[in-house]
């Protein structure tokens, strides 16, 4: 009897062990937070962040996002019921404003005399509008029809702005003639460079621009989206260098500490719904591509990038918060709200 009981127990123990292992397997593979990205920059994905009542607070395209001095996340959409939606970092609504920006596209925040100022590039109004953080318009930069470069308002379709330390404003005419326009803070046009073309100093879809101060000096980083390139220019418009990102249709460069973050709207051969996020290191090498293929360099040349996970449709901008989390705003993504990527 004693021996028989012992055998029964062993048998049950084996069954229990199997059941336990099997259940562990179940949990491990069916219910695991996905982690996307590569190397040092990996993230969990919060698809529900910032979701609102779509009737009360609708969005069309979610074009760009910035974090203000209070730590809030500011979203720009081209829905004129509420062009600007302000969240806290947890995705709770703080306030909305703006009903007069039908082509709201580019959003840049610049602190001036201790106050957050927003620069909105509106590609239907064909102008740049500077506002306070609560939406009071303080300055408008109209289409540069006084210059020799533009004959009609329609030729000027600005997509982005960048503000230098001295208050000068650089405008990327990304959907227009592909020029970069350099203004002083009073709105006087000082210089125009770039334009459409294949050479290093020209652009095909000069979509985004920012001021790069990572080496202690100011320079401009400008995306040439259809060329899959990030180009560097001096502040007076001289071409310095170009970074090739094959297969990555990059929207605007966002610098956070040593890294450049770029929403990548399409990938591979440029087909719809193939976006991901690109993250470059200080040397402008791709080190992580959340949602995209692993960055691999062969003989110093990046292998062509493409989407691997169907998480994003058309990422249009990335905002990096003070806790290293990302917020991804998307164009043409079924009127969906931004996606938060939590750094792990």
């Amino acid at each position: 009897m004693i021996r028989r009981k012992f055998i029964t127990d062993v048998s049950l123990f084996s069954v229990a062990g199997f059941a336990s292992a099997s259940t562990f397997h179940f949990r491990k593979y069916l219910y695991k937070d996905v982690i996307i990205g590569h190397g040092t920059h990996r993230y969990k994905v919060d698809m529900k962040w910032g979701a609102l009542d779509a009737v009360q607070y609708p969005v069309n395209d979610c074009h760009e996002m910035v974090q203000d001095s209070k730590g809030r996340i500011v979203l720009l959409t081209n829905h004129i019921q509420n062009n600007v939606i302000i969240y806290n970092k947890q995705g709770k609504l703080q306030e909305v404003w703006g009903t007069n920006f039908p082509g709201a596209h580019g959003l840049t925040l610049h602190v001036e005399a201790g106050e957050d100022m927003l620069y909105i590039a509106d590609n239907e109004r064909h102008e740049i509008i500077k506002t306070t953080i609560d939406g009071r318009v303080v300055q408008v930069f109209p289409a540069p029809l006084d210059s020799e470069f533009y004959e009609s308002v329609d030729q000027y379709v600005p997509t982005e702005t960048a503000i230098a330390k001295n208050g000068d404003i650089y405008v990327a005419d990304g959907y227009g003639l592909q020029n970069i326009l350099h203004y002083n803070a009073n709105g006087e046009l000082l210089n125009v460079f770039g334009g459409k073309g294949d050479g290093d100093e020209y652009f095909d879809n000069a979509h985004g621009i920012c001021v790069d101060t990572r080496d202690g000096m100011e320079s401009l980083l400008i995306t040439a989206r259809m060329q899959n390139r990030l180009k560097c220019f001096s502040m007076d418009g001289k071409f310095i260098s170009s970074t090739e990102l094959p297969g990555a249709y990059i929207c605007r460069p966002v610098i956070h500490k040593d890294h450049v973050f770029l929403a990548t709207i399409w990938s591979g051969d440029g087909r719809a719904n193939t976006g991901f996020v690109s993250i470059l290191n200080r040397e402008n090498k791709l080190i992580s591509a959340p949602g995209g293929s692993k960055p691999i360099y062969e003989n110093e040349k990046l292998r062509k990038q493409y989407q691997t996970l169907k998480i994003f449709q058309h990422p249009h901008d990335v905002c990096v918060d003070d806790e290293e989390n990302l917020y991804v705003a998307q164009w043409n993504a079924g009127k969906s709200y931004p996606i938060k990527l939590k750094r792990v």
């Binding site: 259940t23 179940f26 593979y29 219910y31 937070d33 996905v34 051969d269 293929s293 691997t308």
Partner: protein, 271 residues
């Protein structure tokens, strides 16, 4: 016996608890996206020649850790891809990606076609002409054995039309025996490009054969495939007319509903 009974209760109870979905915080819904909720994107496929005389080499890649590429030629079973494959007869290749716990990718269909010869010396005329936006290299684009890519905006292989009906007249320099005629067509509903409804073959004003082409479906992945119109029997001819009829308008489920669809052709293959 008592010990056994208690143990069973624990096992059963513990199993039943695990059928309920909780995350690590005990919430009924997950805060973060789960890997089992994510669909893999399709793999990258490089074909050295979609139209070939001897053989075609196919290379596949997918740079995601622990993901496997699976492929099948024709009706064969799927097998794991390791090295480039060589195909020496007209085939449809099916390719997809799998990774444990993730939803597998859509299956990509790639058609490679063995051709005996170019339609050398044939004269092609098209009515109406291709759109100024997508003129390709003119009518000869259709017989140059050069396939366009899915990125139809690049290269000069694709001819794009926005007409209800397109007639293609092929004049052979010498009499030719024909068993079937294939058209290579693009389908990319996100770019408002749809397959036509019907393709007719006309010889000496008599319609010899026709093909009803399957409709482009909602959310169908962009693809480029050959659609062949077979003849009942071998025919000799010097003049061949191909009549392509598109849908009247883009269907109601699409953003472009009510407007004329685009038709894209890059090659005619006569067998």
């Amino acid at each position: 016996m008592m010990r056994i009974a208690i143990f069973l209760i624990i096992v059963i109870s513990s199993c039943s608890k695990r059928t309920i979905i909780y995350d690590e915080y005990g919430n009924a819904e997950f805060k973060y996206l789960q890997d089992s909720q994510i669909e893999l994107a399709p793999p990258k496929i490089k074909v050295d020649s979609f139209l070939f005389k001897e053989s075609s080499s196919v290379e596949m890649s997918f740079d995601l850790e622990d993901a496997n590429i699976l492929y099948a030629i024709g009706e064969e079973e799927f097998k794991e891809y390791h090295d480039p494959i060589s195909i020496n007869k007209s085939s449809t290749l099916k390719v997809k990606v799998q990774k444990r716990a993730y939803k597998e990718s859509e299956t990509i269909f790639v058609q490679v076609v063995k051709v005996s010869e170019k339609l050398a010396g044939a004269e092609i005329s098209i009515t109406p002409q291709a759109s100024n936006s997508y003129p390709g290299n003119g009518a000869t684009s259709l017989i140059d054995l050069q396939k366009g890519t899915l990125n139809f905006k690049q290269g000069n292989q694709w001819l794009g039309f926005q007409s209800k009906k397109v007639d293609i007249d092929v004049d052979f320099p010498i009499e030719k025996e024909i068993t079937q005629v294939c058209l290579s067509l693009l389908s990319d509903e996100k770019s408002w490009i749809f397959r036509p409804e019907k393709i007719f073959l006309v010889l000496d004003k008599d319609t010899l054969s026709a093909l009803m082409v399957p409709k482009t479906k909602k959310n169908e992945l962009a693809n480029s495939n050959s659609w062949c119109v077979p003849l009942a029997e071998k025919e000799k001819c010097t003049d061949l007319k191909i009549v392509i009829e598109s849908m009247e308008e883009i269907p109601s489920w699409h953003d472009g509903k009510g407007t004329p669809p685009w038709l894209f052709i890059d090659e005619i293959i006569v067998k």
